[in-house]
């Protein structure tokens, strides 16, 4: 039971306020799609529109080519796991899971079989006669997923289902969800503001911001080739460094003059670049420490050290007063206050124009 979901030119308004504008998107059958974005970007609204809990003002939503935005929620063949789980507090776990099936007159034998199968898969068999109030957060979360599974829906919708769990449980549940995903072959849409959840779970990520889609791509696409400055900022930790640069061209590629005058040869193609003053983006892992005084480096003073075990993040104050984050080895000997020089890897740079649109360095060596 799976489905391809087609969202076509969808617009949503609340009164005079537009929360989603002319948005199109296609989710492939069996795909795990994550809607990622800051709160208020419209990702939950989009999910609820697919579920039928919000109306669609313009555009259409279809599943397997059949239009569903005109159907009531219960008839769309969709199951949803809510952030608060929304388990019926006065029903047992078994009744919670069976409620939706009874409503469409599924025979009792079929209900029992599906409940048993879901209970086995989620290891909640011993909880079936309990009420939600007697369950831990993690158990409730499984029951909520179980309630979705037994419906054998065309698509699963998850609305930030991990955000009510504590940090340790969240990591464990994330792994379990990834495993579940391999067993239950179905289309899944997962809404989150947590980039790690998005990166680890998704086949493809839809990054949303301010009523619109910023980028759709695989997690590595999003990370390595962010389509806009917003995506570059929102995805990745620590956040990408941005430097104002002056551009020139050398053999078809761009050469950036850094704020301190150093020259950085990039592998960003120069054709089509018109503005000479743009913003260069580079992640901390492409900024390395080197000996002070070397040619074309950026000198600075280490202000903060974050030792993460496997690597060390250096927050370096440059001469012009701006801050840049560099990465060093886990056993780094750098101390706070050290004067160091930074060298930038021109093959891992991004260029953002005044509108925030991006161009990326090409990995020449690897074709």
């Amino acid at each position: 039971m799976t489905a391809q979901i087609e969202i076509d030119s969808v617009t949503k308004r609340y009164g005079a306020m537009t929360v989603l504008e002319n948005l199109s998107l296609s989710v492939k059958a069996n795909e795990f799609m994550v809607f990622l974005g800051p709160s208020g970007c419209g990702k939950s609204t989009l999910l609820r529109m697919i579920a039928g809990l919000e109306s669609v003002d313009e555009g259409t939503i279809s599943i397997n080519g059949e239009r569903i935005d005109t159907l009531p929620p219960g008839q769309r063949g969709i199951a949803m796991v809510f952030q608060s789980y929304a388990l019926y507090p006065h029903m047992t776990v078994a009744d919670n899971m069976a409620f939706g099936l009874k409503n469409i007159d599924v025979p009792k034998g079929v209900i029992d079989a599906r409940l048993a199968e879901a209970a086995r898969m989620l290891e909640i068999g011993h909880l079936m006669e309990r009420k939600p109030g007697q369950l831990s957060g993690g158990q409730r979360q499984r029951v909520a997923i179980g309630r979705a599974i037994v419906k054998e829906p065309k698509a699963f919708l998850f609305d930030e289902p991990l955000s009510n769990l504590d940090a340790a449980l969240r990591v464990r549940t994330r792994v379990e969800l990834a495993q579940l995903r391999n067993r239950v072959k179905s289309t899944m849409i997962f809404v989150t503001h947590d980039q790690i959840e998005a990166m680890t779970l998704a086949d493809r990520v839809v990054v949303m911001n301010n009523r619109q889609i910023e980028q759709i791509g695989t997690p590595m696409d999003i990370y390595l080739r962010p389509a806009s400055r917003f995506v570059a900022t929102f995805v990745g930790s620590p956040t990408m460094n941005f430097l104002p640069v002056t551009l020139s061209e050398s053999r078809g590629f761009l050469v950036a003059t850094l704020p301190n005058g150093a020259q950085l040869t990039t592998t960003i193609r120069a054709d089509g670049v018109t503005a000479a003053e743009q913003t260069l983006g580079i992640r901390a892992e492409a900024v390395r420490r080197t000996e002070p005084g070397a040619v074309n480096t950026m000198p600075g003073r280490v202000e903060v050290l974050e030792r993460l075990g496997d690597r060390t993040l250096l927050y370096v104050r440059l001469k012009d007063g701006s801050m840049i984050v560099a990465e060093d080895i886990g056993m780094s000997r750098v101390a706070i206050g050290d004067e160091i020089a930074l060298v930038l890897d021109g093959t891992r740079t991004h260029l953002f124009d005044a509108e925030g649109r991006a161009r990326h360095a090409e990995e020449i060596g690897h074709g």
Partner: protein, 292 residues
């Protein structure tokens, strides 16, 4: 006595519950107990009278303070009093109103809290304004309306006016609004109809509010005096309040003082016993309704 005040000083939560205040505490406690005794005195007096033979009372009221006591007055109730009929009437009326109120207000509360329909907010505000209408402002017209409909001296006549009270709608709407909306949405995705969501998913969660509203309504109707006085004017349609009132119009001349008192005690016993058992709920219901 001293041990009681000592415990109160240790476990009290108020300002006087602190260490080193026990003398003041003891005085306050003594005063409060004295007030309670004064408070109880009239009740005890009535109960004492109900246990005395009438001839003895006629001779001297001081007979109340010594034996013999008798249950004869209570036995007489069984044979000669209409009080059973009145209690039955009150039960039918109070029960009917309570049931009707719970049904109407639950439905309306769900409707106002969860469903959108044209003019919903305006209607809700109008209902809220209805809270401020005192009974007396509608009584006379209502009485005339019921005369035309020939509803006086009938159970529907005694029950129906209460079903228009806006308080329950207000209470239930507030309560439904406090239930997370995700439950409705989960049920919608579970293919449940609006009525099924109301009946199977939300209504079971409103039991505390139903109890509050039910107790408050039952007590208000049970104790109401005005409407049954003007609507249930036939003796066999008297409610308990009107019936008891009818016996006491000129009891100064009554030769059955003890009987009268026993009837009053008998009539108030059920509600007092209920009060002792469900005190917490009754207090919550009544004070909750007062503050709204």
């Amino acid at each position: 006595m001293s041990t009681m005040t000592a415990t109160s000083a240790q476990t009290g939560t108020g300002p006087s519950g602190m260490v080193g205040r026990s003398t003041g505490d003891r005085v306050i406690l003594a005063l409060t107990i004295a007030t309670a005794v004064v408070m109880m005195a009239p009740l005890v007096w009535v109960v004492a009278l109900s246990l005395k033979d009438n001839k003895e009372l006629m001779a001297s009221m001081n007979a109340v303070f010594h034996a013999p006591y008798t249950l004869q007055n209570y036995l007489n109730i069984l044979t000669t009093s209409s009080v059973f009929r009145w209690i039955l009437n009150s039960l039918i009326v109070s029960g009917g109103v309570t049931l009707g109120t719970l049904v109407l207000c639950s439905l309306a509360g769900y409707g106002f809290a969860r469903l959108n329909f044209p003019f919903r907010n305006v209607l809700f505000v109008v209902v809220l304004i209805g809270l401020a209408i005192p009974e007396q402002a509608v009584l006379i017209a209502r009485h005339q309306l019921f005369s035309w409909l020939k509803l006086h001296n009938t159970y529907p006549g005694l029950i129906l006016p209460w079903l228009s009270a806006p308080f329950g709608v207000f209470l239930m709407t507030q309560y439904f609004r406090a239930i997370p909306k995700e439950l409705d949405e989960a049920a919608l995705l579970d293919n449940a109809s609006r009525f099924k969501i109301f009946w199977k998913v939300l209504l079971p969660l409103t039991v505390p509010a139903q109890a509050t509203l039910g107790i408050f309504t039952f007590l208000s109707v049970w104790n109401d005096y005005f409407w049954p006085l003007i609507s249930g004017t036939k003796k066999e349609m008297y409610t308990l309040t009107v019936g008891i009132a009818s016996t006491q119009t000129n009891f100064a001349q009554s030769e059955g003082l003890g009987f009268l008192m026993s009837q009053a005690v008998f009539a108030s016993a059920p509600i007092l016993i209920l009060y002792l058992f469900f005190q917490k709920y009754i207090v919550t219901a009544v004070s909750g309704a007062a503050v709204r």
